[in-house]
Each structure stands twice: as C-alpha cells, then as structure tokens.
C-alpha cells in the first residue's frame, strides 16, 4: 500500500512539475519574442552590405562541372569567373580572366590573353594551364558531366566525350604559355564567346582538385567551406545543408575594388508562398519567384518590389507525331490554332508573359521569326473537318501530361477547355511525378506533353537545333530532312544574314508542320527590395554580383 502511494505521489508530482516547466517555457518564449523588436535581415543587410537571396532550391553541389540547375549557377556566378563575362544589362561580352582575345579570319581559332592579376582565392595566379586542366575534367566521360555537350563546338571535343579519342592533346584546347590560351573550333560559331560564361566552362583550381581525390572524383570535398578555392568575386564561407549558403567578398579577386557587397546569403526556399511571406517580413531582399495569384496584388500596392523581365525561354506543348490522330499535320495545326494564348497569359500566368506565336523567342540576338503560329478557330475547325473529325466527331480522347505544378495545371485546364469549346474534342489531364513525366516523354510514351526550354546562350540555334531528327531533346519523334539540312548549313555559315535566312525557313517549317505548339515566352517574375542597386534586367536573368550593392535607408 505504501509503495502504491509513493508511486502515485511521484507520478502526480512529475506531471505537476512537467506542467509548470512547460508552461514556463511557453510563457518565456512568447514574452521574449514579443518584447524583442528584432531587426529584419533586410534592414541589417542594407546597413552591412549583406544580400539575402531566396535561391529556390538547395544546391546539389557547387562544382561547376557537375551541376545543371539555376540555383547552383546563381551561386557559381559569385564563386567563379570565366574567360570572359557578360555586361549586366546588355549582355555584351566583357573581359573576364582574359583581358583581350584575337579571333582568326575564318573564326576557327580563338586566342585569349589572360590578365596578369587574375588570382585564385588562395593567391595563386589563374593560368591557361588551369583552364586546360578544367576543360579536360569537364570533358572526361568518367566524371559524368551532364553539360559536356556545351563543348561540342570545339575541335574533337565531342569525340573525346564519346570515348572515340582518348588523347586530350588532340582536342582543340592548348595553353601556349602561362597566360595565353588557344581554342580551335570545328566551324565558325558566332555565339562561342557567350558559352565561355556558362558554368561548365568555369575553371577549377587544379592543386585543390588533386588534393581532394583528383580530376575524376565526383563528390569530392574540395567544394566545402575551408577547402574551397575559386577565382570569382566571392568565396565560399559557410554552407549548411538546406538552411543557408554564405559567400563573402574575395580579397584576391582582380576587380575587388568594384565589389561592394560584403556577403551574400543564399536561402534554399522551395515553397513559393513561404518565400513570399519571408520577403514581406523583411527576411529576403530578392525571391526566386512569386505565386501567380500574388502578382496582381503587388502590381497594385507595391509595384516597386515587383520585377517582371522578359526571359529567354519558350513554354510549349509537344505533340507525339507518331500516334494517331497527332500523326496528321492537320490535327496538330488545328489544335495549335484553337488556343487563345492571350487569355492564358492574361488570366492564368499573369506575369506579363508574351503570347508565343514563334518557337524562338522574338528578338533573340536580333532574330525574329516572320512565320507565325495563328489563332484562328474557324480555320482550325475546317482543318479538323479535312482530317475527318467534323465537329470533333469520333475524335479519340487525348491526354496531356505535365509534371506536378500549379501553373502547369492551370494552363492545361484552360487549354482543355479551349479545345472543348472550339473543336468539341475531349482531352484528359494527367499530372505526373517529375521522373515519371521525364521517362514517359523521352520514351515517346505520351500524346501531348507540357514542355519548356530556357536558352543557354543568345542565339536562335539554341532553340531550333532542339528539333533535329532524333535529337535528344526533340522527343516529338518528328523528322524533317530539310529542317536538319538547314541547321547543318547554319552551323557552317559565317555570315549572320545567311544563318538567319536558314533559321527563318526553319521557323516556317515549324509553323507548317506544328510538331510543337508554342504557348508563351517566359518572363522572370520575382520580388526585389528597392534597396538593391545594380540588379539590372536582362533576358538571361544573369546578375554579376560585382555590380550589385545595397542602399541603406
């Protein structure tokens, strides 16, 4: 009996004490948080030149030869510098590691002269040999760089990636001396200089790479704080998985005087509603995106914080041209002619997107297609009659696949309804997990699929060569020999007019054959505090941080 009594006693005691402790904790926590009027990130950042940047996703890695994503590139842009870089607003080629370069008459040989004060963050000079080492690393198939195809314009690079050539000295990349690099191309490539600012062309510091497992080691520890050596305007300071990545101003960068920011904090905020709330509460200077439905509100009440910039990318649908009834060009054209693109951008995406009537975005490095996709319901209905489906009669049920995303879903619902109204045909929608969607699309296991293409460089070729017969990114199983020949001819052409003529012809072929249905040209819509200076708008949404600064109130 006594034992029972004490045990009960202890138990009640414990629960009372527990209750007191916990209510104590809650009260203290609530009162401290209420009494403290903390300074927001934006306020302290403006004062101390610390930029708080919502960067979408946790970077997979910051090794420039292993990554593919935009969040990673946003960080690499701070940590590395290519042979050349781009002007923050007009995207013109500017000197980077190289202070000057010569191009041979036939545009096949590029010779770069490095500046003598280009330094790695440990103080070593950046040499031409470092670039040869880095590019060999990017091309070695054993490393498995997913972006090695960016090098195919260089002589023998493609053969080296595919293992047909084992000897790297046969590839057209040579260090003539410490400060001179020579690159030999397969053909005149007018956009070659632009590629040099892509992350796959960034240099890595050979001694550091060797120290942490060598050229071919994936997942080496060289890119960790403490180990990291880079040549950019910033250097890695701290990296906490899924929480934050911090870079600080590099002391050894050749143009360090120009760099005004002290640090940049990259936050991996995946949820765009969370990100928007963080922005509103002053935790972020810049977000990676804005929920569609919030755009109107910002436009009305806070237009200074809303940034809408045209972006080099096309949102489109692929038609699988080998399945019935999409193998009939009249059906594809009818479908493409019966959607109201203007309504989609005005009422659904809402971010100032431009209705797309051409595959290559208008004014891509001076190229605008003359041939246009049309919006003409009557003509569409006629085409459907010709194809044997008057008023949608007997038209098979088609399916649109898209990866799970609110905006894709809304666009698909609208298109489903537009086709129903205009052509009286039924389509079903199927959202799929990203990987399932990719698998189905690459294997041609679909009828209509949602797609998007963001340009890597400013040239129509970047869009049009996607639809080459059996091209890895074609996936529509569409093939046209004239189209293929034009792309091949354009690659060899030196004169701009000649290339553009060939591209014009190809745009016309796309309109006639409609293997794809362009819907809109992307815009980049994000939030930015007015205190951020030098975040110039440009079509690649690329913002070299050395031009950025913060204005304290």
């Amino acid at each position: 009996m006594t034992a029972r009594m004490t045990s009960r006693h202890i138990r009640t005691n414990i629960s009372t004490r527990l209750f007191l402790v916990i209510s104590g904790i809650i009260i203290i926590a609530v009162s401290t948080s209420c009494s403290l009027d903390w300074e927001s990130n934006v306020e302290s950042g403006n004062r101390d030149q610390i930029l708080h940047y919502g960067n979408g996703e946790e970077p997979q890695e910051i090794d420039p030869h292993l990554t593919t994503g935009i969040p990673e590139f946003n960080i690499q842009l701070a940590l590395f510098e290519g042979i050349v870089s781009k002007h923050p607003s007009n995207l013109g080629i500017e000197p980077g590691v190289a202070e000057s370069w010569d191009i041979s008459e036939d545009q096949l040989i590029y010779t770069f002269h490095f500046r003598d004060n280009a330094r790695w963050s440990n103080g070593d000079p950046v040499t031409a040999h470092d670039f040869v080492y880095s590019w060999e690393r990017a091309l070695r198939p054993e490393l498995g760089s997913l972006y090695s195809y960016m090098f195919i314009y260089i002589k023998n690079a493609d053969e080296f990636v595919k293992g047909k050539i084992k000897d790297f000295s046969k590839v057209g990349i040579k260090a003539l001396d410490e400060r001179t690099l020579q690159v030999e191309l397969n053909a005149a490539t007018p956009f070659f200089l632009q590629l040099l600012d892509h992350h796959s062309y960034y240099p890595v510091h050979p001694p550091t790479i060797e120290k942490f497992g060598g050229m071919l080691k994936r997942g080496s520890q060289w890119s960790r704080p403490g180990n990291f050596v880079g040549n950019g305007s910033f250097v890695l300071k701290e990296w906490k998985l899924n929480r934050i990545l911090i870079v600080e101003k590099s002391k050894t960068y050749w143009d360090a005087d120009k760099v005004k920011l002290k640090e940049i904090y990259f936050y991996p905020v995946q949820n765009n509603s969370t990100e928007e709330r963080m922005f509103r509460a002053g935790q972020l200077h810049i977000t990676s995106t804005v929920p569609n439905e919030k755009i109107a509100e910002y436009r009305k009440t806070n237009p200074d914080s809303l940034n809408i910039t045209p972006y080099l990318g096309t949102y489109f649908y692929r038609f699988n041209t080998k399945v019935k009834p999409l193998d009939d060009v009249r059906v594809r054209r009818a479908l493409s002619m019966s959607i109201n693109r203007k309504q989609i951008v005005e009422h659904i995406t809402k971010g100032g997107q431009i209705p797309a009537y051409t595959f290559t975005p208008p004014n891509t490095n001076g190229f605008t297609s003359v041939a246009k996709f049309k919006y003409d319901i009557e003509a569409a209905q006629k085409l459907l009659v010709e194809a044997g489906y008057p008023d949608g009669k007997d038209f098979p049920n088609l399916e649109i696949i898209y990866n799970t995303d609110e905006s894709h879903r809304m666009v698909a619902i609208a298109i489903q309804q537009m086709w129903k109204k205009a052509l009286n045909i039924n389509v079903t929608l199927a959202n799929q997990d990203w990987q399932v969607y990719l698998e189905n699309e690459t294997q041609g296991n679909y009828q209509i699929s949602r797609a998007g293409w963001i340009g890597d460089y400013l040239d129509p070729n970047n869009f049009l060569d996607m639809l080459l017969t059996d091209g890895g990114n074609n996936r529509t199983r569409w093939s046209n020999s004239e189209y293929d020949a034009n792309i091949a001819a354009a690659a060899l052409a030196v004169e701009k007019e000649e290339r553009f003529k060939l591209f014009q012809r190809n745009e016309q072929i796309l309109v006639d054959e409609s293997p794809v249905m362009p819907i809109y040209t992307y815009t980049r819509v994000f939030l930015i505090k007015p205190s951020v200076i030098g975040w110039d708008q440009n079509i690649l949404d690329q913002h070299p941080y050395k031009y950025v600064s913060l204005q304290a109130d």
Binding site: S273, P291, E293, K294, A296, E297, Q343, E346, H347, I348, T404, E406, R409, M410, A412, I413, A414, Q416, Q417, T428, L429, A430, N431, Q432, D433, Q435, V436
Partner: protein, 302 residues
C-alpha cells in the same frame, strides 16, 4: 449500482449473448441513438451531404468545368452564391462535385482500413504470442516502407484508377487501426467475462466476434471518425502524385489546398470548402460519439 465484479462478468455475457438471439441490441442502440439530439443532428447532416452528393449532377446551377476566364475569381454574389474560382468556375458547384469524390473516398477507403485493421488487430491481440509477434512485425514493416515510391509504382504498374486510390489509402490507414484494436483487445482479454467465456468452452471465433470486438467498438468508432478526415485530405496528396482525381474534377482536399494558396486574395476559396468539410466532420463526430454511447453495453444500464 454497486455490483461486484463477478456478477458483472456474468451480466456481460448474458448481455452479449442476446446479440446471438436477435436484434435487440441493435434495436436498443437505435432507440438510444434517437434520444441523443446531437447525434441525430449529425446523422441528418451526414445524410443530407450524401443525398446532395448523389443528386449533384442534376441539381447544380453550373457545370463544374465550364470556365469564364474573363470573369476570374469573384466574391459570393447572387449569381454565384459561394463565388467563383480563378478560372471563373462556380465554387458551389465545384464543392458539390468535390463532395462526391471526397465522401466516397472518405467512406470507402475508411471501410477498407476498418475491415483489415479490426480483423488483424483482433486476431493478433487475442492469440498473442507468436501469432501476435508475426502480425505486429508485419505491421511494422508496412509502416516503414516508403509511401511515395509505393504510390508512384502503383500508378506506373496499374495506371490511374479509382480502385487503386482506395487500395493505396487503405494500405496505410489500416495499420494504426490494427495497433489500436490490438491494444484494446489485449486489455479486454484480461477481463473476467472473457475468461468465463473460455471456461464455458465457446469457440474462439465466437468469442472474438461476439465478445471481444463489440467491446472495442467504442474506440474503433472514434478512430474511424479520425480516419475519415485523414483519408479525405490524403486524397489531395495522392492527386499531386497523379493518383486520385485529375482536373477539371476536384475534391474537398484539393479545393482546400488550392484555397490556402490564395487565402489572402480570395479568402472564400478557402473558407467555404473548409467550412463544408468542418461541418461534415463535426457531424460525423457527433454521430460517432452518439453511436459509441448507444452501443456501449455497460452504459446501457444507466
């Protein structure tokens, strides 16, 4: 009122044996339920929801997929009682159509979970020992398997299909049910009236069906009322994976999760679906509590 425990055991057996002989227990329960006003209110509301769901295709003022992009999202008005969504579709209509999916998933998937869970838990708890160890470790294994991958595979192998939805949800929801029932059975098995039943030589199946399960009913009913909302909301997660309903169809779970995204701009898109869901869940709970009281053999003597 004060009875010794021995007579209780006898009493319970006699009470429960009346199940065998006729329907008097159910009749009693029904009579008791009718006296519980809140429970009857719950029953009426739930029945009303079901009837509306069944009649939806004939009574909705608008079509659930017809869009009016130029109209967009509008607040409640005379034309659209609950407003319209961002594509200009009538919210009332969409909630009514959504109820068909949500109620069906809620009841059917819960029924799947209920039948597997109760059976599994009772057998496991009643037999104990190796049987229990085997059955409960199986439950542990199923808990631990990665659900997302399981759903993705299910989709790939069988394609999208409403039956699959019930299977997928049932496959996860019965596990906790089984554990709870087993816990109850373990303690019920220690009661005198079960010993008495065993001594009387009743077959095991009969003991379980007539004496053990009825005494776990109270907890089961409560857990059922907790499972239904869970299932209704799980459906929206499965829809994001591609299983479940696809646009332009909708469900309460989907309407609510989209409503959250726009709750500042268009609060009605969150409020109305959430209110409808809440009213249904409250009613189910009142009904559940009423049923629990009505079916409680001991309370009946009050």
């Amino acid at each position: 009122m004060t009875q010794s425990s021995e007579t209780t055991a006898e009493q319970s057996i006699i009470d429960l044996d009346s199940v065998e002989s006729g329907t008097s227990l159910w009749e009693d329960a029904w009579n008791r339920l009718q006296q519980n006003k809140l429970a009857m209110f719950g029953l009426y509301v739930v029945s009303f929801m079901i009837i509306i769901a069944l009649l939806t295709p004939w009574i909705t003022p608008y079509s659930y997929f017809e869009q009016d992009l130029d109209l967009g999202a509008t607040a409640p008005s005379a034309a659209h009682w609950l407003g319209t969504d961002t594509l200009g579709r009538d919210l009332l209509t969409r909630i009514m159509y959504g109820s068909r999916i949500s109620l069906m998933v809620g009841f059917l998937a819960t029924a799947v979970a209920l039948s597997i869970g109760v059976l599994w838990g009772t057998v496991s708890g009643y037999f104990g020992g190796r049987v229990d160890a085997f059955m409960m470790r199986t439950v542990d294994i199923l808990y631990a398997l990665p659900f997302t991958i399981f759903i993705i595979l299910l989709m790939v192998v069988f394609g999208r299909n409403i039956l699959l939805l019930f299977m997928a949800i049932g496959a996860v929801e019965w596990l906790t049910m089984a554990r709870i029932v087993r816990g109850q059975v373990l303690s019920i098995r220690q009661q005198e009236y079960i010993d008495a039943a065993i001594t009387m030589g009743l077959p095991k199946r009969q003991i379980m069906l007539r004496h053990v399960i009825p005494n776990t009913l109270g907890t089961i009913i409560i857990y059922v009322t907790l499972t239904i909302p869970n299932v209704i909301l799980l459906e929206s997660f499965l829809s994001f994976l591609g299983l479940g309903v696809q646009p332009p169809q909708s469900s309460w779970g989907l309407l609510i999760s989209y409503g959250v995204e726009t709750m500042e701009e268009y609060p009605w898109l969150l409020i109305f679906p959430a209110v409808v869901l809440s009213v249904t869940l409250f009613s189910l709970n009142f009904l559940g509590d009423g049923l629990r009281d009505a079916l409680d053999p001991k309370a009946s003597r009050d």
